[in-house]
């Protein structure tokens, strides 16, 4: 099957400088200075062990950032902090200019527009592929609204579109629990697409995918950037090379280096602790 990047997400009019620069207002979120995510001096410790240590990181509006680093560097913990699952002991975490992530609950953060794909694919196994996408879809998510919810034509079209994009149109009525590992990865990415967050956090999205699937995912992510901001944790260097604007290298809970992939690969310290091994 041919790759079909999400058509209406590819905005033909995007400007090349929208990556982390300039003035943008994104769907009600205040991103005056072009920064969608601000993390300053973040510290997280588990029983004295510092999983994150004075970590400072900025992600620009529309940017596609890759985070690399050895196992245990704190990449997943970083996502836990951003999504409210783990509270930092120190530091500031802002979504846009005004939303203090350390004060919001997980649900509020998700509603504010941060979506997340987990390292271990988590889909709702008892529900069908279609129902999984429907559940994630951006809409009023209160109890009352859910009791009365019916899909509008527009919403149905959107679900169809995403089904095609993630190549699961034929499996729409299958319970998600019966999908292969790679298909579950795609379903979870599809759920992020219907959720329409402004910032997408993706934890090792191509783990367990075939080369063709990886290539397709790279294409998909590139098409999402600009209109969305993405933060992708990945080990696969080929994949990182294919997609990243900027790369951040994490080591022992700290930012070791930042820049283009070529730059960080040339960095002495990085070679020492990570790439050289």
């Amino acid at each position: 099957m041919k790759a079909t990047p999400v058509p209406n997400l590819v905005d033909a009019s995007f400007s090349s400088e929208s990556s982390g620069l300039g003035h943008q207002v994104t769907g009600g979120l205040d991103t005056r200075h072009g920064t969608i995510l601000t993390l300053e001096d973040i510290g997280v410790s588990f029983d004295g062990f510092k999983a994150l240590n004075a970590l400072t990181l900025y992600i620009g509006v529309g940017e596609l950032r890759c985070i690399i680093g050895p196992n245990g560097a704190g990449k997943t913990t970083l996502m836990d902090v951003i999504t409210g699952k783990t509270r930092p002991d120190t530091g500031k975490a802002y979504f846009g200019e005004t939303l203090d992530l350390t004060r919001l609950s997980e649900v509020e953060i998700a509603q504010a527009g941060i979506g997340r794909k987990f390292q271990k694919p988590t889909v709702f196994e008892a529900l069908t592929v279609y129902e999984n996408l429907e559940l994630a879809q951006k809409t009023n998510k209160s109890v009352w609204a859910s009791l009365r919810a019916t899909l509008t034509g527009e919403q149905q079209d959107r679900l169809e579109e995403v089904l095609v994009t993630i190549r699961l149109a034929e499996s729409r009525h299958r319970p998600a629990g019966l999908l292969s590992h790679g298909q579950k990865q795609f379903l979870e990415i599809g759920m992020l697409l219907t959720q329409e967050p402004q910032l997408l956090l993706l934890d090792e999205p191509v783990a367990g995918m075939t080369d063709a699937e990886t290539e397709f995912t790279a294409e998909l992510f590139t098409s999402l950037a600009r209109k969305h901001s993405l933060m992708v944790v990945e080990h696969d260097m080929g994949f990182v090379e294919a997609i990243a604007d900027h790369v951040t290298v994490l080591h022992q809970g700290h930012v070791l280096a930042e820049g283009s992939l070529a730059e960080v690969q040339a960095n002495e310290q990085v070679i020492e602790v990570y790439l050289g091994r």
Binding site: A110, R116, T122, F124, E125, V143, S146
Partner: protein, 359 residues
Amino acid sequence: MNQPLTLTAARTVGPRWTLGIAAVALAILIALPLLSLLPNDHPLQVSAYTLTLVGKILCYAIVALALDLVWGYAGLLSLGHGVFFALGGYAMGMYLMRQASGEGIPAFMTFLSWTEIPWFWAGTQHFLWALCLVVLAPGLLAFVFGFFAFRSRIKGVYFSIMTQALTFAGMLLFFRNETGFGGNNGFTGFTTLLGFPIAAPGMRALLFLLTVALLVASLLLGWQLARSKFGRILTAIRDAENRVMFCGYDPRGFKLFVWTLSAVICGLAGALYVPQVGIINPSEMAPTNSIEAAIWVALGGRGTLIGPVLGAGIVNGAKSWFTVAFPEYWLFFLGLLFIVVTLFLPKGVIGLIRKDKET
């Protein structure tokens, strides 16, 4: 997996058959009370004993259905649903006691040498207020309990143990004479309901029909919920609560809604149980009662709604036969039944029907 029966059975037995069986079952349930009105010497007459027994089992079936809503769909195993059933029953019982004592105060209060009716009995001589209490007492208790339990993210075994403790505490409280609900004797000796004799054949038939109506209404409501997006979110919460939060839903509200609804349905069942059976006492809140309800659900098939209704029917039908034939073996049989179901029928009786048709 956990689709309502409409889907499950329709796929296996065929929609026409499913509808046919349901129609026959409903026709029998409606015919029973009518046949009970026949003269005593008529061959088709249904005895008051049979009608009361079936009516009682129908009330239990409603409890099983209510429990399935929270356990089968939202994954909250309650081992304390007896307390909601009993509260609904007590609320109705208060009204019946007031009917029985007329202008005076209920007899058990006179035995305690109370001269005045306690404040929480105020208004219970009015049928409409009693009906409000039937809904409010279990509903408020469930709401408050659920609010704190879900806010503290209490789940799984801890939640089950807390519900068990809740019903046990309720039982101990109601055992005390000073609590004002007749102590261990509870309420009995009812005479009239809305001025009509409560044991009259017409009244029995009416109460039975109301129970059938409540069961049918609860089933329809349950199916409606299970088929709605709300139902799918409950299933999602059951299987991956964290993921649901990251999708932007607050699981607490969803759990609280279905939990309170379930308690209210139980309360209504209790309110219909008391006038039919003629007694309510704290043993309805005994922990074992609530555990038995969980067995009905497991036996019938979790998350199928109709399964638990059948489960309640099968277990209680067997129970009433056993307690006449071999009373001392009932608990052994129940235990055995539970083990067999857990080992061989993980999807309950409904799963059995489905499997047979597939092979």
